[in-house]
Symmetry: D2
Subunit: 367 residues, 4 copies
Amino acid sequence: MFDFGKILKVNVFGASHAPDIGVLITGIPKGEKIDFDELLSFMKRRAPGNNPFSTPRKEDDIPEFITGIENGVTSGEPIKAIIKNTNVKSKDYGNLEFVPRPGHADYTAYIKYGGKEDMRGGGKFSGRLTAPICIAGGIIKQILARRGIFMGAHIFAVHGIKDDRFSPTDVSLKDFENVWQKDFPVINDQKGEAIKQEILKYKEQKNSVGGIVECSVTGVPAGIGEPMFYGVENQMSSAMFAIPAVKGIEFGAGFDASEMTGSENNDDFYFDGEVVKTKTNNCGGILGGITNGMPINFKVAFKPTPSIALPQTSIDISEKKETTLEIKGRHDPCIVQRAVPVVEAVSAMVLYDMLLQDEALKNRKEE
Amino acid sequence: MFDFGKILKVNVFGASHAPDIGVLITGIPKGEKIDFDELLSFMKRRAPGNNPFSTPRKEDDIPEFITGIENGVTSGEPIKAIIKNTNVKSKDYGNLEFVPRPGHADYTAYIKYGGKEDMRGGGKFSGRLTAPICIAGGIIKQILARRGIFMGAHIFAVHGIKDDRFSPTDVSLKDFENVWQKDFPVINDQKGEAIKQEILKYKEQKNSVGGIVECSVTGVPAGIGEPMFYGVENQMSSAMFAIPAVKGIEFGAGFDASEMTGSENNDDFYFDGEVVKTKTNNCGGILGGITNGMPINFKVAFKPTPSIALPQTSIDISEKKETTLEIKGRHDPCIVQRAVPVVEAVSAMVLYDMLLQDEALKNRKEE
Amino acid sequence: MFDFGKILKVNVFGASHAPDIGVLITGIPKGEKIDFDELLSFMKRRAPGNNPFSTPRKEDDIPEFITGIENGVTSGEPIKAIIKNTNVKSKDYGNLEFVPRPGHADYTAYIKYGGKEDMRGGGKFSGRLTAPICIAGGIIKQILARRGIFMGAHIFAVHGIKDDRFSPTDVSLKDFENVWQKDFPVINDQKGEAIKQEILKYKEQKNSVGGIVECSVTGVPAGIGEPMFYGVENQMSSAMFAIPAVKGIEFGAGFDASEMTGSENNDDFYFDGEVVKTKTNNCGGILGGITNGMPINFKVAFKPTPSIALPQTSIDISEKKETTLEIKGRHDPCIVQRAVPVVEAVSAMVLYDMLLQDEALKNRKEE
Amino acid sequence: MFDFGKILKVNVFGASHAPDIGVLITGIPKGEKIDFDELLSFMKRRAPGNNPFSTPRKEDDIPEFITGIENGVTSGEPIKAIIKNTNVKSKDYGNLEFVPRPGHADYTAYIKYGGKEDMRGGGKFSGRLTAPICIAGGIIKQILARRGIFMGAHIFAVHGIKDDRFSPTDVSLKDFENVWQKDFPVINDQKGEAIKQEILKYKEQKNSVGGIVECSVTGVPAGIGEPMFYGVENQMSSAMFAIPAVKGIEFGAGFDASEMTGSENNDDFYFDGEVVKTKTNNCGGILGGITNGMPINFKVAFKPTPSIALPQTSIDISEKKETTLEIKGRHDPCIVQRAVPVVEAVSAMVLYDMLLQDEALKNRKEE
């Protein structure tokens, strides 16, 4: 259940009560240089910040490489990396251990895995498991960058308040770098300020808000992907729903395309010198499941953090009656900003696996 | 590329120039009764109608079972079914054979598969390959129905004009049957009339329109799905993008959830007698990738049919210059109504495969 | 169950009562030339001969390519090839339909698939399904030959009467060609004569005999295979047991190695110019699951054809009592000679799939 | 490369220079009781003994369960177990670091993984990784035992000196227990004494010897396995070659069947009360890849330990010349006795995975 991929294989492990969480990765060729500092700064983008928009919980997510990387270079062996669980204390759920939190996986975990000790899912559904995903994705981002492939994401919207968009046709590494270096990853800082205010407003109300992450990928050659079940959209969507709280995904114009006409939505081809491009990019860089050489573009919808401090109605499963639940502890009033690098990491995993498959078959005309 | 599934395996084959298209299915237990008439009437819902909303092309998609079904009962062997290609004539693309149609997979097929004969993708990207998917899905729908599991879909919107929605919490087989028996599958016929007018309007303009299909599934027990990479959303989204023209998918409130607060979006639990239910169903019946026993609900966005009769700008790849393209032939001005049963078929395949996996492990508390 | 492979995918379909048998192949890159005459002459080696050593049954196994090969070149699409079943008549089992033939899959097919119509397995276990395997393997042999990779097999032994062996260290294409052009594929024709006499002797006694096929593969570069579960021996053995009647496989010295000392069995390294070789080849070209650049060598044990004309003791499952069975019809007194090209075909499939995986990762030092 | 299985998934990790080795297991249902003492005593059978037949090296292979087992019961979550590497010291290979040991994976690891640090394969090919396999297999043996399925193995031969065989038709749990409790796992202690002498004789000569392990499995219902590529023999052989030094496998009469006639080899059916049995079991309990309800029986050939103290001829890869190699350190003069429980463990993994698949489809008549 925690394993991803066909040639690249990423296997996430760990639980909140275990000594560590981590990831096993196979299918990365030997000889790839990994810059540890760059990985750390990538992972830091996911860590809760010293700002009021995320949980004040402290997590020092320093990955430790056990096997597969020697002197900063992959050895071709399985890569195993862990993050130690420094703060392993059983949470105090008081008498609420049989009360599933609305919007959480508590109830489904209870049905699936059983007894009371699992009402909180043993950490299996924890957003914390996105840290190992960022280890894998962070390494792969470095490998892809050397092939000229870059992926950048930003907060596109929170509670309906929108940032600018990446240009569907002309986004560049510079646009990505602009966002990567920010504490609060938006394109337009003024709009980012409005988004921050929105988050703070609902935080004060002991509530939370959802949002949308936009991600673009540049440099992927045309011809990646297979028709029908193994297209880019199939693989990308399947992997994105591994990120907790994701409830939707759309490529290019996506749901907006459903409100368009063919003449509006079709992307006209043209020659930019020798290179085939499209004037618009409503298809998000993918036609028939296969990349067309334009930037890949998609948006991922996140629901609001289900943990809110407001009292909520739930049930007590052992006593078979309704009850009121108040969730203690400190939570992210919005997880969208912390999800931004996770979306990049997952997209890196997906595209790298597909590029490796392409390497095997070379079923692609070099333009 | 044309194969789906883990225990259930569905392998679609065929091309427009081959004598037949069809499907190989393994992983269906022996002893399942298959009602051929019911399958035919399911497949008819996908066929182009005798109405002005779909292409006037004639397709008699009568599936023929070669192996795996004997006397109307599955034998446990691989099921092979074909549909004969009665009308195999090479299309006349005139001097446009090197001109990719905007919005189509022509250009990506050319990059992927090569020579001029493949500029039209050899039929690999044809919507016609959804017919074999409907054979597989149609059979499986019958098997699931005997377990009390039903899936129904309808046109939710076309070019922004909306039908009603299925109730997220109280949809029933009767609601599905209501739609199944209609030529034009909407819930609310008055709204359906407006949708028809919208399609006709753009048809007259030699244009096309996109839309959204909503699908609900009832009767799936709580506890189906695995965390992270093998949840219902992962599997369902991956398979849905196999349907041509799909550009987005959302579960429950989906993208709308990104504009909600936690207190609005969280679905409160309650007891309906002994049964655990939720008062709302913004999660679409899935929490942490796992079903919670409520109806599964999702929407799939379709782009407008890319084939339009209006002149379009494209390029001539062999001559390396821009050109104008006029697509001849008769096309669906909107494919959404024909996609409705395909969405049902794919959802049946996905859930059946997941139920078979569940059978293996039985990692689930019976409520 | 009938599908093979990870990147190369070979899916065998058909049954004796269906109009055709065949194979679906994906994962072969576009642009590979396929010589149809060469394929036919490869497949002819599997066909029952006009000699007394195989069944006099007539099979004109002419493969017909439906998709994936255009003008003698692969298009990158799935390859579908069929062989028409010309002689589809339900066999007359008389009152023996509930009597499983000893040594056959009748009883296990009955347990697995059920009713009386399946007591003969519906053809699922028929040696005839090795014809589609030879289509796939025959195509792939041609592709591998262009990369300098060749595989040749011969009858190593029948009922204990032995042919010569290929040199474990110095076998060449010439050695293979020598065997390929023979009706009765042995290295040493004098020993072949003794083997023929042995087969005829038991044929006259209405009995059958088993034997061993030896196969060598040259030209595979060092470094193919992965440790533990994905080594060459793992993949090769798994696939070889798909051939009916195979009961054992050994690589290099194999079972003989169990009677050797370390100093006898270890293959000493030396330099042949710049090339690393071993003086002996008891490891069969594989160390730690990975090729070492020497010829790959293995032997496959076949049990005697279970269909014999002698009366045998069996049971009547419907009447729950013992009975005597006499099998009518004409059968191969020994299937080993016809299995020879099938072993080559399967080894081609296995190594090609592994080479494709190697292409993806390139985790290998070019010597 | 280190992952096994389809529904049951076993992923082995670790290296000799890492802090631990271990295993990740998914696909084991929740609620299975695991007896830790029983697991320990199973694993002890693999540990080097306090006798002169195995290496005097000390390994305290105490598995530690990190996740997936709570209070001695599986939770349905992934099971992660580790064995700490207590004795992590880089081996001193002196000036021999570029000299591959004959019979070892040194050379192929060098080609595959590169630099000098990998000439010894980084532990990837180490027999030590069979310890995590025994954790997985040991757990699964307990689960299968509760379903009445038992597997027992013994030394069948060493350097041609043979033990007795398990009865192919009438082996029982008692026969297995008889072997399990012995330090030196043979059926006939007198023959075991001869085998011990043989091992000691070659040990004194600074040499090593190979051998054969026989394994029987009882209680597997008829009908497990699929035709062609997913039969029991396919899966079992593929997995057995994951054990270092395995060079051959045969089922039932195996290679001996190649010297038999049909009338000798065919196993006649009879009724034992209501139960269908065969009088002989030359097929090893498997017909057409599917179990027939008789004991499953197979033999696995091991080559002699390649590490011997005698001087051997090899090459120095960096200096491109031949050289003489003397391997220091203490090695098993014969690894067959330690491989016995590993063969049981692997067979448990294979059959459990196949039983889980069977659970999903239930394509099997209950006798």
